[in-house]
């Protein structure tokens, strides 16, 4: 009897130590123990005594030996009480069963030391199964519980060293192995029960796919003809080389990278003021990809370019990466808080973009899922403690586009002058009122008057003598002038950059942050902040890195690789050397996965910003590691990686598969890549392609943001900036300037081109790991009804008629440009029938010219009076060169434009297969 009881207790204790205690720690202790001053319902689960005692209800929570009578057990089953309260935290049936067994075993409670002894004994005990999980050594959590917790091995895969796997040999069709990628893919397909491969994509499909993937544009009919005419072996490889060597390659790569870094030309929040020099970082990214800068170097420059070489302009531009987040400091914000906001943003952002680790969770507590203690978070944050903002004076490089500055500057200046003209009479009126006031009282100066005869406040103030509306207008004009003055900084040779130094006492909305003469001194210290709150600092930390990362060579302990100096300079360089290293188990995997995603729509790890426990698991872990090692060995070259992927049979296969019904049953998500996953054009690809097809695209590279015509209602929508309204959005003056690639369109955080927005261009506040691809009706309005779509169709038609005299030729060219293939005979007939019908209509209906808006009615509620102030804003469109408009052309052009509009709305155009 005793013996039996003893053994029950022993196994119950083991259950407690290995399973129950970690379960309580994860699911219950955050509210019932972690903070003794904030116990929910007064229930404390940290000791057996308090656990048995129960909470405010004063009933025992656990009745040892009697699970059914234990409120704790009832609560976790959501029987009466519902604990944990959050649906997604609910215990699994297995976990509930564990608790039942443990209570049935008498709810034994091993004390801390006992528990640790047992943990140490585990390796010798030999009967611990893998499902108990593994511990991970870190710098240590806030509780021993967290420090010693266990992780499912597959949940911390990304912290395991990258090892080159053996290449599998179980191919479905060995003749279709063009490179080793195919060996890995075929092995998984075979394992998944797939019997045969999709056939190779035909040449027309392939050139369209490859060109969209690398350039974000459709191939031209001439490019298609040349490719089809190349009958020698290796034509596809040569096509890929041509595409990689073209500067459009860098633009398309930049678009993907800027999604990750949340690029914008403005700061967000209440004023959304311009970052006038941000465009130089955007162009730096384009240059870097075009030059095929090794990725490890690219990362290092963005993290610590200024430390690498403070005299190299390119390096000072590159660190703009660290300032990409939304950030604003005004008179209404608190400096300590906005500073912390920057530090939190940059810490999290470096984790997400380069390491696929969302670190923000660890700003308030040890990470709930991943082996990232809050100490590591603040150690990483301490790396950025010396970072101060600066708009360094950095001469323009020969490779930067500083063309056309004079004209662009003149437009901004003319708006400022116009505001000046509007303000002048108001100032004159006020001055006259002041003179009159003094004259009435027979004095020359205000100070000659006794205090009680002066205006309220003792002086005139700037708006003396003006009525309330006039006072509001003075303010509105002044704010608009300030706003526009900032735009002039675009053309100055400055960089959105930073330096290392002591706290730069930044004021609000400074146009330019400068480097002080002396940047040396005491660097702000960083402490662990309880709950992420500045008001609750715990212990101080020194700069450091993710302590769970052992490194590829499996060496633990401080090395030159994972040590950050506690000096002013050199912290970020140490971070860069740690990240951009073959030793780092995350970096190469993360970028290889991002590039893979560009080609297959989904990464090998579907959550490309999260390689943690809550992220997706790799569908092809061996392939991912093989690619990562290959990438490192081939000099971190992104172009080589594209070349490798695009020359694989996997990439070159068709989007259709003969056994599609069976495949859908096996792998409905196509994770195995049994066929090429088709994708919809991204927002920018859609706009750029329409301009390219219509013959209007200006494919100039680089330079400050441009302003295309967007929906006028959105353009003229007043945007609130503190106490006033921002000046109206005004499109660039010529079609040539407006029809630049979308990458170069000025990117506001609070004003979005609806065409791009409805086609899933993400906002720029949080990093976008992958574009959504929704199908919603507003997309129809944007593509079928918008001015943009109608103008492109009209230019498209006018160009076709200019170039070709016969209808058949016009339609053939239209199909080639839009779909990359000639039309069928039936399609030509359908188009002709439609054209004739439309021609009859357009001959009967002549469109009336519609004028551009030249002035807009503005209104806002004035905070000084609580009343609506209305005024007119003149739009500087006097020299505006309009697009081709329907009243400029013959009915034949308008009729053909209807056919073109239909083509640009069709699925064959919108999807890449």
């Amino acid at each position: 009897m005793r013996a039996t009881e003893g053994s029950t207790t022993a196994s119950g204790e083991r259950l407690f130590v290995t399973k129950v205690r970690p379960l309580l720690a994860e699911k219950c202790l955050p509210c019932h123990g972690a903070d003794p001053t904030e116990l929910k319902s007064g229930f404390d689960l940290t000791t057996r005594e308090s656990a048995l005692r129960g909470g405010e209800s004063e009933a025992a929570a656990i009745v040892p030996g009697k699970p059914e009578e234990s409120p704790l057990y009832q609560a976790v089953r959501w029987d009466g009480l519902e604990m944990p309260p959050k649906e997604n935290d609910r215990l699994t049936p297995e976990q509930i069963e564990l608790l039942r067994q443990w209570i049935a075993a008498g709810a034994p409670w091993a004390e801390e030391q006992d528990r640790l002894d047992k943990k140490d004994a585990r390796s010798t005990e030999g009967d611990w199964s893998a499902e108990d999980g593994v511990t991970v050594e870190t710098s240590g959590g806030l509780t021993a519980e967290w420090t010693n917790r266990r992780y499912p091995p597959d949940g911390i895969w990304a912290f395991q060293p990258i090892r080159r796997p053996d290449v599998p040999h179980s191919a479905i069709d060995a003749t279709r192995i063009q490179n080793l990628i195919d060996a890995f893919i075929q092995a998984q397909l075979a394992k998944g029960g797939v019997k045969r491969l999709a056939s190779p994509a035909d040449d027309r499909t392939f050139i369209r796919r490859a060109t969209f993937d690398l350039h974000g544009l459709p191939p031209t009919p001439a490019e298609i003809a040349k490719f089809l005419a190349d009958r020698r072996p290796g034509a596809r490889a040569r096509l890929i080389e041509r595409l990689l060597a073209d500067p459009h390659y860098g633009e398309q790569q930049a678009r993907h990278w800027l999604d990750v870094v949340r690029y914008a030309d403005t700061s967000g929040f209440s004023n959304d003021i311009e970052r006038p020099n941000a465009w130089r970082y955007r162009d730096y990214v384009v240059r870097s990809f075009n030059a095929d800068k090794p990725y490890d170097r690219f990362v290092t420059e963005q993290l610590a370019g200024d430390e690498l070489d403070p005299n190299d302009s390119e390096m000072l531009i590159a660190v703009g990466f660290l300032r990409m987040g939304p950030w604003e400091h005004t008179a209404m914000t608190v400096a300590a808080i906005t500073r912390q906001q920057f530090l939190d943003d940059v810490t999290h952002h470096v984790g997400v973009s380069l390491l696929a680790q969302g670190l923000r969770c660890a700003s308030c507590h040890d990470h709930k899922f991943d082996p990232v203690p809050t100490r590591d978070y603040y150690r990483m944050q301490a790396i950025f403690a010396p970072v101060q903002f600066a708009e360094h004076r950095v001469p323009f490089l020969a490779t930067e586009n500083a063309r056309n500055f004079a004209e662009a500057r003149r437009l901004v200046e003319s708006r400022i002058e116009q505001l000046e003209r509007l303000r002048r009479p108001l100032h004159e009126e006020s001055d006259a009122a002041k003179v009159a006031y003094l004259r009435e009282r027979g004095v020359d100066k205000l100070k000659d008057l006794p205090a009680d005869q002066r205006p309220e406040g003792g002086n005139f103030g700037r708006e003396f003598g003006l009525n309330q509306t006039e006072q509001s207008l003075v303010k509105i004009y002044e704010k608009s002038s300030q706003y526009l003055a900032r735009e002039l900084q675009r053309f100055e040779p400055r960089a959105l950059s930073l330096y290392s130094g002591t706290d730069n006492r930044y004021g609000s909305l400074e146009p330019v942050y400068k480097v002080p003469a002396n940047r040396n001194g005491e660097i702000a210290t960083v402490s662990i902040l309880a709950g992420g709150s500045l008001e609750s600092p715990l212990e101080r930390v020194t700069p450091g890195l993710l302590s769970a990362m052992v490194g590829a060579n499996d060496v633990r302990g401080p090395t030159a690789w994972n040590t950050v100096p506690n000096t002013i300079d050199g912290r970020r360089l140490a971070l860069a050397n740690w990240i951009a290293s073959p030793n780092n188990t995350l970096t190469a995997r993360v970028i290889v996965n991002r590039v893979w995603q560009q080609h297959f729509g989904k990464g090998i790890v579907a959550t490309s910003n999260n390689f943690g426990l809550m992220g997706a698991r790799p569908t092809h872990p061996e392939l991912l590691d093989w690619l990562a090692t290959w990438f490192i060995e081939h000099g971190w070259s992104v172009k080589r990686l594209h070349r490798l992927i695009m020359n694989s049979a996997t990439y070159q296969q068709s989007a259709d598969h003969a056994d599609r019904e069976q495949l859908d049953a096996i792998d409905s998500a196509n994770s195995l890549l049994a066929y090429f996953p088709p994708r919809r054009l991204a927002a920018e690809e859609l706009r750029d392609s329409m301009l390219a097809i219509s013959g209007e695209l200006n494919d100039e590279i680089g330079g400050p943001g441009v302003f295309p015509e967007i929906n006028w209602e959105v353009a003229l929508q007043p945007r609130h900036i503190m106490g006033s309204v921002a000046p109206a959005y005004v499109p660039s003056g010529t079609p040539h300037e407006r029809n630049r690639r979308t990458l170069y369109v000025f990117r506001y955080r609070t004003l979005s081109d609806p065409l791009l927005e409805v086609f899933n261009r993400p906002g720029c506040d949080i990093s976008c790991e992958r574009r959504d691809e929704t199908t919603v009706t507003p997309q129809v309005f944007a593509l079928f009804n918008s001015e943009f779509a109608h103008r492109r169709s009209l230019a498209f038609a006018a160009g076709l008629i200019d170039e070709y005299s016969k209808f058949n030729e016009q339609i053939e060219a239209a199909f080639l440009r839009t779909y990359g293939r000639p039309p069928t005979i039936a399609e030509v007939d359908d188009c002709r029938e439609h054209y004739n019908r439309m021609l009859a209509h357009h001959r009967e209906h002549v469109p009336q010219p519609v004028a551009l808006p030249t002035r807009v009615e503005r209104g806002m509620i004035e905070e000084f009076t609580g009343e609506m102030v209305r005024w007119q804003e003149e739009l500087p469109l006097d020299h505006y060169e309009r697009d081709l408009m329907p009243w400029d052309v013959d009915p034949e052009v308008r009729a053909l434009a209807e056919v073109c509009l239909v083509l640009l709305n069709s699925n064959e155009f919108l999807y890449v297969r």
């Binding site: 649906e87 997309q779 009336q848 709305n905």
Partner: protein, 471 residues
Amino acid sequence: MTEPFHLPRRDFLYSLGATLGTVAFNALLQAEEATAPAAGPLSPKPQHHAAKARSCIYLFMEGGPSHIDTFDPKPKLAELHMKEFRRDNKFQSAMSGGKRYYVNSPFRFRQVGKSGMWMCENFEHLADVADHLCVYKGCQVDSVDHPTACYQMNTGKRFGGDPAIGAWSTYGLGTLNQNLPAFVVLPEGAFPQGGAANWSNGFLPAYYQGTPLRPGGSPILDLNPPAHVSREVQRANLDMLATLNEADRQRHPHHADLAARMEAYELAFHMQTEVPDVVDLNREDARTLAMYGIGQPETDSFGRRCLLARKLVESGVRFVQVFEGGWDSHDYLARAHSARFRCIDQPIAALITDLRDRGLLDETLVIWGGEFGRSPDNGVRGGGQNVAGRDHNAKAMAIWMAGGGVRAGHVVGATDETGAEAVEVVHHVKDFHCTILHVLGLNDNKLTYFHEGRYKQLSQTGGAVITELLA
């Protein structure tokens, strides 16, 4: 010229969703199959628990209306008026440190309704519906600047990028009219500080984003083609498009997105005629227009939006948010706040009365409030007695709720003797958010979405329902 094509309707319903679905579509489905519609992202979903309110009208007073001058009188301030004190610490903005002066309220108060709740005299009409209001004085937020406080009040998070309450609500409940946006925003003209991020879908799918209906022009962007394009031409183009798309679909029969996109074009075509009717105020009778103050210069703008909010809710829109700014009275409190009162007083009273008379108040939650309250003092903007205003205050504010599920005719919570800080029934805004969801039949802990490695929720990390506010 072409046969209408037939599609497997159920298959593409999910991918269709849209900010705007269609009544026509549901009608089609019912007529053809007489079965329950399949689940799309915006089709109605059951509440987590039984709750009366089915929809919500949130009157958002951007800028921070003063609780001290509306629902929370502080006689103590008469004694302290223009007395100086200092407040300095590093957690204050440049504007809120240093020398400050207490400011007495320029408004007079009286008790109204059966409960005898205090209300500023300038609310002449609102007093008549006081028995429907549940005034709450215990809410606190974390931010003292507008955009981050607006983001927190609307999304739970201070720094933007999270879904708004309206987005969460429609994610949880779907919407009742597939032909209208599920979540409609009625801005005053200028967008509020922080812009569209105040009604963002955040990390939720785009279906749940708030749709701003503009005071002029087309209610939905590009709802109609350019002026010279006739409906006849549109129809012909649609038929031509269907021909091309159908041929393409037959070549790629397994690509489900193709069918969804084809159907979206037909839906859009129907919506062009149906949507404008719902937003047309000309169909309302003169008495209704007058009741909302439409036609009167001060009340016209806000009155129109209140009436539109009622019409939208009546038509099955799940969540309507009306933005009204101008409350940031750092100076000229008396003048600026009284002008604001005149703009909103009659329209709000009309809205509540109208909802009640139509039997809609029981199933609608009405919320009034700003992003924070105001301070008992003038901050550091200085100025004499006549120009005095109030600074921002994250620690105290006044909010009221009315309608289904709310404890009507009550005042809950209280602030200290100067109105500087809430001291009774004090809750962080996350609890207020849980309460809103609760009244709409949603449980914040169940209304979660997996993003960036965790299940996120409106309250950010969980909160509690403020039971004192419930009927």
